[in-house]
Symmetry: C2
Amino acid sequence: MGEFDLIARYFTRPARRSPLGVGDDCALLAPRPGMQLAVSTDLLVEGRHFLANVDPRTLGHKCLAVNLSDLAACGAQPLAFTLSLALPRIDEPWLAAFAQGLFALADRFDCELVGGDTTGGPLAINITIFGEVPPGQALLRSGARPGDDLWVSGTLGDARLALEASRGHVALPQEVLAAARARMDSPEPRVALGMALRGIATAAIDVSDGLLGDLAHVLERSGVGATVQADCAADLLAAGSAGFAPAPELLHELVFAGGDDYELAFTAPPSRRQEVGAAGASTATRVTRIGSIVADPGLRLLDAQGKALARRFQGFDHFRP
Amino acid sequence: MGEFDLIARYFTRPARRSPLGVGDDCALLAPRPGMQLAVSTDLLVEGRHFLANVDPRTLGHKCLAVNLSDLAACGAQPLAFTLSLALPRIDEPWLAAFAQGLFALADRFDCELVGGDTTGGPLAINITIFGEVPPGQALLRSGARPGDDLWVSGTLGDARLALEASRGHVALPQEVLAAARARMDSPEPRVALGMALRGIATAAIDVSDGLLGDLAHVLERSGVGATVQADCAADLLAAGSAGFAPAPELLHELVFAGGDDYELAFTAPPSRRQEVGAAGASTATRVTRIGSIVADPGLRLLDAQGKALARRFQGFDHFRP
């Protein structure tokens, strides 16, 4: 099987919304008049973002999910994506399972594969995703204002907990491990919540490298600081309600610096609390208020008495040893 | 230096046309009302598309040029691109030179870097590029009709000649080698010609894997066949006019199956010959009529007497051993 058969067999489906799908020099997209196009791209590399023995169905899901999560953080509606694949060899069962995981998620979000590229090489996957958002309504990192509430969606830290368990650093009961692994392998992008927060949230980001590290980008671009209530951590870790009770140090590491969460962290004025709650309810997404934006730069983690806690952990950086 | 410093130092410039540039979860593009968006993506991997010791400035040029060439083949006007980089290490002089080559070409085509991703890993570069084209005016692979002329832009085979010389298969005079290497390293995407051919060409493709292999895609999608005059080969190889006169077998291999040419192959009715010539002249791009589209499927290479030549060569396939 050659490059073009591979594309035809696994990655070509009839064009839906786009005027022209896979198989020409370019794909063609017809954005709705007046809409802005939100674009994001993510490169996943074996050994960095996933292990060689990863389940290909899971990998197909995850590499699209991380891109959908970027659209969610902008409040954009998914439209289409391109897929570049570097493959060490043509392994048909692997490709079939990868395509199955990819398209199952793509179909749920009505997001169409419109083009791509394949080559030999060390396994790497690049997806570029396109979404639509009305002009001026994209959620940006730069809009947080002093006094705003700080919110997160869903739960945090479970993906990292699964990683720590797989490294043998933590021992977990079977069902807690299974739930944590599902969080690591199959993140659920918060697309509906992001769209529901248009006009309500003042800033948003998706939590991929760890909450505090990602929040720092929001604070920097908004020119503000934040306080975060450390005692929300136990409640944010899903494994916590399943009976897993780590020591505070590990708990904080997991929840505040875990990474791979693909939840949204966002800000909104206190006057919009009810609307934030309604956005969560209407999209069946839990939302938790975890702190506040302040004028003083920097990010302070506060204990129940309002005392600042020392922070030793930091967000993920692909080039930090 | 970490991931975010790297992006800030080498790949962040003020947003120009786009409402929002590098540094948020998504970039935002505002397509002109009514225009279609042409999208293409290419993944270049060390050891496959370039060697480890490639000049990074050249690599920066080339990885954008191959994407611009896809826009050219659709007749689209370049707008913006995203860049994903997997880097084995942070090498600042390398990054500075790569960015210089990349942005020099991007600026010439007014094509803005709007977002991207960086990670550690074996060196790989993925660019996704966006261009604009009026609805219905994109040049597709599917529009060739029996009776159409078959044209190519520029010269063919010199990039492959440089490759063969670097492998020690061919000995070349110094200046012929230098010119051929320049063709291999710094292809010139035919963007202006592609745009000038809107409404004139019936089909187009960019020649990246070898003329006959790429033409086969046009023929397949158009449901037609073609004849190509083999005696045009000597004239199409730039090194030919510099005094390099290979045996016919090598000449045909270079010109018809060379690869890495990044010229346009396109079709147009004979009634439009003057307009094709004018499109070439107005964009300072040589255009050569090399054959005809016929109803019978298949691609026949004809000698000066109209007799079919045997073809042993084939287009490049990344998964063919």
